[in-house]
Each structure stands twice: as structure tokens, then as C-alpha cells.
Amino acid sequence: MTELIGSIVILIGAVFLFSAGLGMFRMPDAFTRIQAGTKATTLGNTLVLIGIALYFPSWSLKLLIIAYFVFMTNPISSHALARAAYGLQGRCGGGVRLETAGTPDERSGP
């Protein structure tokens, strides 16, 4: 029974992961892609790990650590990425609405 529940949890996680991929694909600009793609995965990943923990309860401690680690790192990396994108685009004040397709061109070289 726990296995079935576990697998269903995993499936839900997989749905989130898939939608992250879809968001990544469909969203119009870099910021929104980061929003949809890299962060929606967190929940999906957590759910998958929970599902696995239901299969093998003895693994749960380590899975917890992995989940914790992802929770720690994922916002930091996406923040750094967004900040970089923002810096590339040029700074503007708070509350300003962004052009949806206004991402900067790819730069060549360092």
C-alpha cells in the first residue's frame, strides 16, 4: 500500500517537474523562465523524494538531506541568475513593469 501511495506521490512530483519543463519552454523571457522552470522543480523534486521515502523508509534521512540541500541551493542559484540577467539588462527602479521580450542579446566573449 505504501508503495502505491509512494508511486502516486512520485507521479505528482513528476507532473510538477514536467510542468517546470513546459514552463521553461513556453515562458516568454528569461525571468519568467527562471520563475517557471527552475523553481517549480523544487516542489516536484521534493515530492519525488518523499515518494521514494515511502518506498524505503530507511532511506528517508538521506532523502531529507537531499531535499534540504535543494531547498537551500535552488533559490540562491536562481537568484544569482536572475540578478545577472537583471544586471545585464540595466537597472531600473522598483515597481517598473518590464518589457516581456526585452532580454539582452547574447554577448560574445568574456
Partner: protein, 86 residues
């Protein structure tokens, strides 16, 4: 039953990966690509964990952990690189 569901889950995740890879290839900017990589790494952690489950091997989780550490650093490094500009 559970196995079928797992299979479906794996297929879904795989589809997500394909979409991510598409974004990685299409770009158009470096930030987009890195964002795609970021997304792919987390998805990969899930995939590795899932593979550990299927193979029934606890030790594979170590791989997921190390992978998480290193790929986080990779994304952070590229982000910092982009931030410093050309």
C-alpha cells in the same frame, strides 16, 4: 500497478527534460540556457533518486547529493560570470 505509475512518472519527467533541453538549445540568451541547465540539474536529481529506487540501491543517493552540490556550483559560477559582464 505501482510500477506502471512509476513508469508514467519517469516518462513525464523525461518529457520535462526534453523540453528543458529544447530551451537549452534554443536559447536565445545565455541566461536562458543557464536557467535551462539549472532546471535540468534539479530534474536530474529526481531522476537519479528515482533510479536508485528502481535499482534498489541506497548508495546511488550519494550520487544525487554530489551531483546537486556540483551542479549548483556550476550554475552559480556561470551566473557570477555573466554578472561580471563581458
Amino acid at each position: 500497478m505501482a510500477e506502471t505509475i512509476l513508469l508514467a512518472a519517469a516518462a513525464l519527467i523525461f518529457l520535462g527534460v526534453v523540453l528543458g533541453v529544447l530551451r537549452l538549445v534554443l536559447g536565445p540568451t545565455a541566461v536562458d540556457r543557464v536557467a535551462a541547465i539549472d532546471m535540468l540539474t534539479i530534474t536530474s536529481i529526481s531522476l537519479i533518486a528515482l533510479y536508485a529506487l528502481v535499482a534498489g540501491r541506497f548508495i546511488y543517493l550519494d550520487v544525487a547529493l554530489v551531483y546537486g552540490v556540483l551542479s549548483f556550483l556550476a550554475v552559480l559560477a556561470v551566473a557570477r560570470y555573466l554578472e561580471r559582464g563581458p
